[in-house]
Subunit: 232 residues, 2 copies
Amino acid sequence: VEGLRLLEEIFDSDFKLEHLFYCPPSTLSERARTFLNRCHEANIPVEKIDRTTLNRLSDTIHSQGFIGVAKIPRSTPETVTHSSGHNLVALNNVKDPGNLGTIIRTAGWFGLDGVMLSKTSVEFTNPKVIRASMGAVFHLPIYPDVDLSRQLNHFIKNEYRIFSADVHAEKSIYDIDFGRRNVFIFGNETSGIDAPLRALSTSVKIPRFGKAESLNVAISAGIILSEFKRRH
Amino acid sequence: VEGLRLLEEIFDSDFKLEHLFYCPPSTLSERARTFLNRCHEANIPVEKIDRTTLNRLSDTIHSQGFIGVAKIPRSTPETVTHSSGHNLVALNNVKDPGNLGTIIRTAGWFGLDGVMLSKTSVEFTNPKVIRASMGAVFHLPIYPDVDLSRQLNHFIKNEYRIFSADVHAEKSIYDIDFGRRNVFIFGNETSGIDAPLRALSTSVKIPRFGKAESLNVAISAGIILSEFKRRH
């Protein structure tokens, strides 16, 4: 986890900051000083590193100089099955870390209850995902490595409605009826949603009014979740 | 412009392909052969390059081996003033090329009539913008270097309604009335929309239902343009 803003959010989450590396800047901001004090009070090992080491650890070009290692609270498919969450996002083979982070951020904004990831999706612990989520990854239950077919069958038995975002669908997201409990599936950037998952769900489209061939998957997720919350 | 898919789209646009560099792969696909024939017929200079030169020219890690140079049909603020387009996007200081490209792609999907860019926004000719737009940049009028205050005043006199996406707005995008002609302003990733532009417009928000602090600017644009088209 890189950058003060994201590191601060760990303290208010179920993640556990285990180690902090920092490359002391020429002057330490008030915010940085407060954060270092907080680490000290929480007995988190703080290790000074030089610029060369920082650049080796860092994922960004202009690093602020603060990099932390945090322990992830593992959410398993079993916890999603027994969660009290009634509206979830399921991601089938989403590969781009920016897209995954942005979808988590958006699901957090709209108050969804969690995000399930197929085994083939990019890992949510990828630093680019954490960054694009703007910290939402710390506050929303993320369920990695989920066998989506199995999980969706379980949800269907429990009266969830399952929707697939599909550019070729007949039904428009503006017209469909949502359930009391819902799962929204979004698929791969190129190939969309796998056929077995589509077969378990109602395909919905975002109507097109112009010439572009498709929408970015995170944009589709934003539009569909907005439409859901507007009417739910 | 990099990659066969994007290069093909240039031919159906007002952009003019002026030069093609390509690094011959071990086997040339049918699609690549067709494209090279098309370049030949259009008298476009085609230059073979080696892998080292390709990597120097390329902006991606796994280049497909096709890079073109295209002439941009310059749209000026004057052309936007006299355009027949009645629904436009205005971007005030949007800095991330991925966000700009995605917003152009989304504006293309929803059939907006063009995208105006403030002088301080990232250049739309940035290869990352072209890529994220998935070619939409070739089919939608883009107006760079626009003095937005001046331009918006002109639009207001011509009975356009101007909306600013603002996380702190009182009015919800789900409730406001759109005009017959509309401009939608989206702002900087960190600082939002400049005060003088906000003063010329109606601020609208996307209601929050969860805990996340903000939405990505391209997601906001997607949701607002979707809501507009749904009701317009």
